[in-house]
């Protein structure tokens, strides 16, 4: 019954989306207010119905209802409840349902709470949102029904890939999806504004919270994904340039550019066409990402749904939406009036540079990710890997960091080169001092990129605090703090990356219980190894005592065996200290009762993710600051009246 209710809710929601689309455009065209009046309720009802469908699917998973095909093939009755719950979206159909649910609820929110947009633009936006949703409803209902039954129902399910049985991964996809869908709202806004020719500062102010929100969630999602890969896969790396990672990075790069250009549009009324273009690109990138991950066209560690028919369906949607949006863009952009002018030396120019650099990285990552596909179409197999991406992304990212340090120190509209240079004096002083210091301390020990990374990280870190210099800290607006924290976060992250690649110490040995191993300034004593059992796994667990000076600490790397499906995973032991992380992996048993043990001491590696969290926090503060200002103004207006 629950499955049927869910399916019915989904069909109803799809029908409402169609209605919403027709009403919005018929109403706008003929200027019929009664048709338009029904658009908002349709959007709200759609949000409720998709939520009902999603809750139905969660219930089926929690109850382990094996008569539902999706539950039987992705869950197991003996699984811990958290993974039954998270298993709902740990598969293709469930994650697509999550996608439409988030989109439905976001559409309802746009319908209910959006006040800044002009009414016709608002209606056109909801129409655009309905058009996007329709494609995804069709996709779900015709090619990936999550509620399909199976007869006879098996007694037990097949289980979930043990690599996915991790709290980090349980909540990582929803975070990314929320980000992707936030970008779909920005896209709908752009469509709406193009249709009603209202690309201006008011439109940008309405769009900005959605872009900011989406960007914060994407940042968190990528940070969490990177940390998951680092601790769960047991290879000590945090970025792989895997197509699926690139699929989340590309929308992030586009959203970062969009975030900055939408700010220019909102505060200075410049970069109109460019901002609309970026909104189209950002959502296109989240669609391309979905396409890459879901189609299985690029095999990857993370791509767990491989099905060519679905791939072509998403490809069709992709062509339709991106093509449609670009056509609309080309057709209407001539009608968008030019915004306010600015001088060459100005904050605007710095933000244009930021946008160009981000777009270039985005283009290069896109080329690298899709190149193997393109060459394969000509019967030639190529693989593009880390050397390509490191080589292209590294230098541009460093240039971007410098632009990021300089940008906030340049005034809006026009500035004098002499003044800017004076303000940058401290930045260059630190840059040079750091270079000399590092050259003396570690010239022959580290590569050029980590070297530059460390130097630039320190200088940018200090420079990003400069906007607070000589300001009344209590009266500084919240979004300025947001910017400062986010930029500082970039520097912290860069510092972590550079430090990890420059100073990591690694040791690999085969050791017997009782042996002592020395790495960096750590002493590790291998005490014993013993079997233990968990909820749905058994493991061999090593007890190791580590110390660096002071008191010893016990750590427990494991080798885990899952029975359903039969898989072995290794659980690394991590010991976090303020200046780095000790990472210990247990390998297999070799001759003579010895065990393989791999130890890394990674100085400041945690800064990578700390920086990511700071970037997201900065975004959240900026969002809060802007919204709070809106509330305050409304409150004062009411009091004055």
């Amino acid at each position: 019954m629950i499955a049927e209710t869910g399916l019915a809710a989904l069909w109803l929601a799809a029908a409402l989306a169609l209605l919403q689309l027709v009403l919005a455009f018929a109403g706008l065209k003929g200027d019929k207010p009664d048709l338009l009046a029904a658009v908002r309720p349709a959007a709200v009802a759609q949000g409720v119905l998709t939520a009902v469908a999603f809750i139905a699917l969660i219930t089926l998973f929690m109850r382990s209802d094996m008569s539902v095909l999706l539950v039987a093939s992705n869950s197991h009755s003996a699984k811990p409840w958290l993974y039954k719950f998270a298993g709902t979206w740990g598969n293709h159909e469930g994650s697509m349902l999550l996608w439409v649910t988030v989109m439905g609820v976001a559409g309802a929110a746009v319908a209910l709470f959006e006040r800044a947009l002009r009414r016709d633009t608002h209606m056109a936006t909801l129409g655009g949102q309905a058009a996007i949703s329709l494609g995804f409803y069709a996709f779900l209902l015709f090619s990936s029904n999550p509620f399909a039954r199976i007869t006879p129902a098996p007694a037990d399910g097949q289980g979930l890939n043990p690599l996915l049985q991790d709290p980090g991964l349980a909540f990582h996809p929803p975070t990314l999806y929320l980000g992707y869908v936030g970008l779909s709202v920005a896209f709908s806004f752009a469509i709406g504004a193009l249709l009603t020719r209202q690309v201006d500062a008011a439109f940008a102010r309405a769009m900005r919270p959605w872009v900011l929100g989406a960007w914060v969630l994407l940042t968190l999602g990528i940070t969490a994904g990177s940390y998951w890969a680092y601790y769960e896969l047991g290879w000590g790396g945090w970025w792989f340039w895997d197509p699926v990672e690139n699929a989340s990075l590309m929308p992030w790069l586009a959203a970062t550019a969009l975030l900055h250009s939408v700010t220019v549009l909102a505060t200075r009324d410049a970069l109109r066409a460019w901002t609309v273009m970026l909104a189209v690109v950002a959502f296109s990138m989240s669609m391309v990402g979905t396409f890459l991950v879901r189609s299985g066209i690029l095999t990857s560690v993370h791509a767990f749904a491989v099905d060519p028919t679905r791939g072509s369906f998403i490809l069709g949607l992709l062509a339709l939406y991106i093509g449609g949006a670009l056509a609309l863009f080309g057709w209407r952009i001539g009608a968008v009036r030019e915004g306010a002018p600015f001088e060459l030396v100005s904050r605007e120019t710095m933000l244009v540079i930021n946008n160009l650099l981000l777009t270039v990285i985005l283009g290069l990552v896109l080329i690298g990710t899709l190149y193997p596909l393109m060459t394969e179409a000509f019967g030639h197999k190529v693989s593009v890997g880390a050397p390509y991406f490191d080589r292209i992304a590294g230098p541009i990212a460093l240039a971007l960091m410098i632009a990021m340090a300089v940008g906030p120190l340049v005034r809006w509209r026009r500035d004098r080169p002499i003044q800017v240079t004076k303000r940058l004096f401290g930045f260059f002083a630190i840059l040079i001092t750091m270079s000399i210091l590092l050259s003396i301390l570690a010239w022959d020990r580290i590569g050029i990129l980590p070297f530059l990374g460390l130097v630039i990280a320190v200088a940018v870190g200090v420079a990003s605090l400069a906007p607070l210099w000589k300001r009344n800290l209590r009266r500084t607006p919240l979004f300025t703090y947001g910017m400062v924290i986010a930029h500082l976060g970039c520097a912290v992250s860069l510092g972590g990356m550079a430090s990890d690649s420059a100073f990591t110490v690694e040791k690999l040995v085969a050791a017997r219980p009782g042996d002592t191993i020395q790495t960096a300034d750590w002493t590790l004593r291998f005490v014993q190894i013993a079997p233990i059992a968990g909820d749905n796994w058994t493991a061999l667990q090593a007890d190791m005592e580590v110390r660096r000076g002071g008191a010893p600490v016990m750590i427990h790397p494991q080798s885990r065996f899952f029975t359903s499906p039969p898989t072995t995973t290794s659980e690394a032991a991590l010991l976090t200290r303020w200046n780095g992380q000790l990472y210990v992996v247990l390998g297999e048993e070799v001759e003579g009762g010895r065990w393989q043990v791999r130890i890394w001491w990674k100085p400041f590696v945690t800064f990578i993710w700390l920086g990511g969290v700071m970037i997201a926090l900065g975004g959240a503060l900026a969002l809060l600051g802007r919204e709070r200002r809106g509330w305050l103004m409304k409150f004062r207006a009411r009091q004055a009246a």
């Binding site: 890939n161 690599l163 047991g234 290879w235 690029l298 095999t299 560690v301 767990f304 491989v306 030019e338 002018p341 600015f342 001088e343 060459l344 244009v352 160009l356 650099l357 777009t359 270039v360 283009g363 290069l364 080329i367 690298g368 190149y371 193997p372 060459t375 197999k381 190529v382 693989s383 593009v384 890997g385 050397p387 390509y388 080589r391 292209i392 690999l508 040995v509 085969a510 499906p565 898989t567 072995t568 995973t569 290794s570 992996v585 390998g587 297999e588 070799v590 001759e591 003579g592 010895r594 393989q596 791999r598």
Partner: protein, 148 residues
């Protein structure tokens, strides 16, 4: 500055950025896209020692040997056309075994041995490194028997 000039400068800057990016990508791809090699390619094209590449193929049965240090393994990788010796120091992935597919990252030393720094094996039963699609062990073993 007039709006027209400003737009022109922006367009020019964008153009330079795009062309620069294209050239950068083209040169990087030319260098790095020759990144995946099967042992047959190594034999025909040759790979200079020290160049970072991916070597992919099947692990030859009975070729896996463990060094006395317990953490270094030696094995042969084949694609049926040629066989290349490889070594790896580290914890091999669980699904790394003889007769199975492997993609190794690393570089050749001057003696023609591949020094792997990272092994990518299947992460689960369903996952197969893309580069190995179409290679099967039976085919390669048959070829192996022909070659001395």
């Amino acid at each position: 500055m007039k709006a027209k000039h400003q737009r022109l400068i922006l367009v020019l800057a964008a153009l330079v950025a795009v062309i620069g990016a294209g050239l950068l990508a083209a040169s990087a791809l030319k260098d790095e896209a020759a990144y995946f090699y099967a042992p047959g390619d190594v034999k025909t094209k040759g790979v200079e020692p020290g160049k970072a590449i991916r070597l992919g193929g099947m692990v030859v049965r009975n070729s896996l040997k463990r060094a006395p240090d317990g953490v270094t393994i030696r094995f042969d990788v084949t694609d049926g056309k040629a066989t290349v010796p490889a070594t790896f120091s580290g914890i091999a992935p669980d699904l790394f075994k003889e007769g199975s597919g492997v993609v190794a990252e690393g570089s050749f030393d001057t003696h023609g041995t591949f020094i792997a720094t990272n092994l990518l094996a299947k992460h689960d039963e369903r996952y197969m490194p893309r580069e190995l699609e179409g290679m099967t062990y039976n085919e390669t073993t048959r070829q192996m028997q022909v070659e001395p």
